[in-house]
């Protein structure tokens, strides 16, 4: 198909896309495949999980001088695929006094799909209309029926495992076979089951069976977080961006830090973008008929707010003033435990897929609770590969069981006895983490810092984000639930139970890296920046396809929904083009 009718490398691209993560990668692939001449701008370097020069998968900890510990250049450690992290050199951000926000940025091909648990849950029908159902929060301008066909397409094209469960608000998809639970996961299922908390196979984007010739299937190293050289898990680089380049219709420009979207003062339409090339520090311009933003929730808002002109004095497509507002991240709280019956385990390889084989979907009705939204529980544990941090803090663990003669043990120690403790307790710890839906609030926002610029001269973001009682009460419920599950398993919860003094262990905003909502979509142009197609109300050739348009996020990690809605918007763009409406 040559829908866009341009044969040569154009001086004016059909589409310029900013950002190569899940949203930008999907749009790039769909539009390039449809024949559009696409320019994909990525603020970081090139990355291919199969290229040996990038591979950390299957490496041993002693190949890292810090055994995989975190560094300022890679927050989640030497072996994590994601470059960057909580701070980037010369690219600051701040939170106003009394508020907090952690902003995780990974500038590289594939963006933050390089740091991702591959947990791939669809939103359910209720997740699009929580506002009208509960009287707090807002409804989406679309419903499950709008995204459902695209979830189906994403399932089949990208692949995920799971099981059909028939739960109304946890819609089933097209699943590959799930991996069998590990020992501790069977014990969690039994323990939680005894107190009526469901534990079902997780839904994650790894190929337990091959789905096509260009990607391999999982070989169970448990290291998806390092990026898969067999392309057996989903990363935007391997599954979307590199295939998009192979269409011959896409030009990828790396190290392109976009600073502004340009518009025609007469028509108000976008004409392209300008960027700083991080290698030569010169400015460049890309002209395009359509601009698609997918720089990530906060970076997209920043770019729009920084794209001011006489026509758009509050920032591009920001007549409503809503851009930056309703920023919301998942809630998160966690607890770990020691399981005495898992001591002295038989050794075998249980690396499995990278992450949990089972999880707990939200199982209660908020009408009977003192907080308005649900959460799911993710589980960890097992005889994983030792890395930096292994065996630390033993003094608060090896006093929790008796020695070989049945005598109480002292916490801490040294010598041959300490080595024996490490061996005996290897694989006897579990962890659980709640991930919940917050209420998006207008008062939680990012804005352009009036006093600061980054090293490229681009004004930076300032955050203002506080949890409300709704999220704190939800975290309290998580902590109570964690202890119930741990006790039902015969386990011993580690550390002091988080309480009101620390918001029940509620992670600080941004820390769960699920932020959405800064460029929300809606039917009312006074209250939203985008229409239900993720198209700017007043700038018809401007689209946003990351998680910035999302009105809320359910208790579902949002990547699968980013992929589905970006595909839907891409189809809409193709339809507009076909009918000459753009």
């Amino acid at each position: 198909m040559d829908l866009f009718g341009i044969k040569e490398a154009p001086k004016v691209y059909d589409v310029v896309i900013v950002g190569s993560g899940a949203g930008g990668g999907m749009a790039a692939y769909q539009l390039a495949k449809a024949g559009a001449k696409v320019c994909l701008l990525e603020a970081g370097g090139y990355f291919d999980p199969a290229d040996p020069k990038y591979i950390t998968q299957m490496k041993n900890p002693w190949e890292s001088p810090r055994r995989g510990a975190s560094t300022p250049l890679r927050s989640f450690g030497d072996y994590d695929a994601a470059w960057g992290g909580w701070q980037l050199d010369g690219e600051p951000y701040e939170a106003v006094e009394g508020t907090k926000f952690g902003w995780f940025r990974s500038r590289m091909l594939g963006g933050r799909t390089n740091h991702w648990g591959r947990i791939s849950m669809r939103f359910g029908p209720d997740d699009f209309k929580r506002g009208s159902m509960t009287g707090i929060g807002d409804d989406w301008p679309i419903g499950y029926e709008d995204l459902s066909p695209y979830y189906d397409k994403v399932d089949k094209f990208i692949g995920l495992f799971g099981t059909k469960e028939g739960m109304y608000n946890e819609p089933d998809g097209h699943f590959l076979p799930p991996p069998k639970p590990r020992l501790h996961e069977l014990m969690i299922k039994k323990g939680a089951g005894n107190i009526n908390i469901p534990v079902i196979p997780s839904r994650m984007a790894m190929l337990t069976k091959p789905i096509n010739d260009s990607r391999g299937s999982c070989f169970y190293c448990g290291q998806c977080g390092r990026a898969c050289q067999a392309y057996a898990d989903f990363s935007s680089s391997s599954v979307l961006c590199i295939p998009a380049m192979k269409t011959g219709n896409m030009t990828l420009i790396n190290n392109a830090m976009v600073k502004e979207v340009h518009t025609d003062p007469n028509t108000g339409l976008c004409t392209g973008v300008s960027y700083v090339n991080k290698m030569d520090l010169k400015d460049y311009q890309i002209n395009a008929k359509i601009v698609v933003l997918a720089a990530s929730t906060c970076e997209t808002a920043r770019l729009m707010l920084n794209s001011k002109s006489s026509r758009f004095q509050n920032g591009l497509a920001n007549e409503s003033g809503v851009i930056g507002k309703y920023l919301n991240d998942s809630t998160g709280a966690s607890r770990s435990a020691f399981i005495p019956s898992l001591m002295d385990r038989k050794r075998y390889n249980e690396d499995g897929v990278g992450g949990m084989h089972v999880y707990t979907p939200w199982w209660l009705d908020n009408k009977t609770l003192d907080f308005p939204r649900g959460y799911h529980i993710e589980y960890g544990g097992g005889m994983g590969m030792p890395g930096y941090g292994f065996g630390m803090g033993i003094q608060s663990k090896n006093n929790l069981y008796k020695d070989a003669n049945g005598n109480p043990k002292r916490g801490g120690g040294y010598g041959a006895g300490l080595k024996e403790d490490i061996r005996r307790t290897y694989g006897a710890y579990i962890g659980m983490a709640g991930r919940g839906e917050p209420i998006p609030l207008e008062s939680n926002y990012c804005e352009i810092d009036p006093n600061k610029v980054d090293k490229f001269g681009i004004p930076t973001l300032r955050f203002n984000y506080k949890w409300s009682d709704n999220e704190i009460k939800q975290a309290k419920h998580m902590q109570d639930t964690f202890e119930q599950i741990i006790h039902s398993m015969g386990g011993i919860a580690l550390g002091k139970k988080p309480d009101a003094s620390n918001n029940y262990g509620l992670a600080q905003p941004g820390e769960i890296i699920h932020e959405v909502g800064t460029v929300r979509m809606g039917n009312d142009p006074k209250k939203s920046a985008l229409n239900k197609w993720q198209q700017a109300h007043n700038v018809k050739n401007l689209f946003v396809v990351d998680a910035a348009p999302f009105v809320s996020q359910g208790d579902k990690n949002v990547t699968w929904t980013i992929l589905a809605s970006s595909w839907r918007t891409s189809d809409y763009i193709i339809d507009l083009k076909k009918t000459n409406q753009i």
Binding site: T56, N60, E63, L176, L186, M187, E350, Y388, I394, I422
Partner: protein
Amino acid sequence: MKRRDTLKAISLSTFGLAALPTSAMVPEAPVPKVFKPGPGRTAEELVRDKMLSQQVFFKPDELLTLGILCDIIVPADKVSGSATQAGVPAFIEFMCNDQPSNQTPLRGGLRWLNNYSIKLFGKRFSEITPSQRIEIVEQIAYPNEAKSEVSQGVAFFSKVRDLTVTGFYTTKMGFQDLDYKGNTPNVWDGVPQDVLDKYGLKYDPLYFKEG
């Protein structure tokens, strides 16, 4: 002794020699700090790691004392070798350069240890007898029972224990000690049957359906 010799030889110069395999008794030629890039590094990481690899933090006498302490925490036993045989002091040195917040607690902690040793026995920690060393370690190795006057020593020992245990078990020797079976391509087909039987667990039939 030169510092780099110390790094290689601390396991020989101290105690517990009888427990060491004979191969470790053969002194090797001093090895200069060679920078070996880790896998998958970005350009910025290569620059930073190379710079860190050339940095020296511990003085020879500090390394000697640290090595003694590391081998008290993880000595050779019937299963595996000792912390110094696994190169733990060099790892701790790297972590001091990589995460400078480690520097003062460790340098100061080693001083605290010597001060306390001199107070009790009139000599530095490296100069007292193995049983005298254990007498001190017993006082600082159990945080819940330790006397408040040695609380700084407890904090120091806990930190060295953390770094030593992590440093040891993230080596090939540590993997063998732990009998870690993973990090290799395989097909995961669930928990072995004898383990399921031991725990009285079984799989849901859904896992046996053809997908």
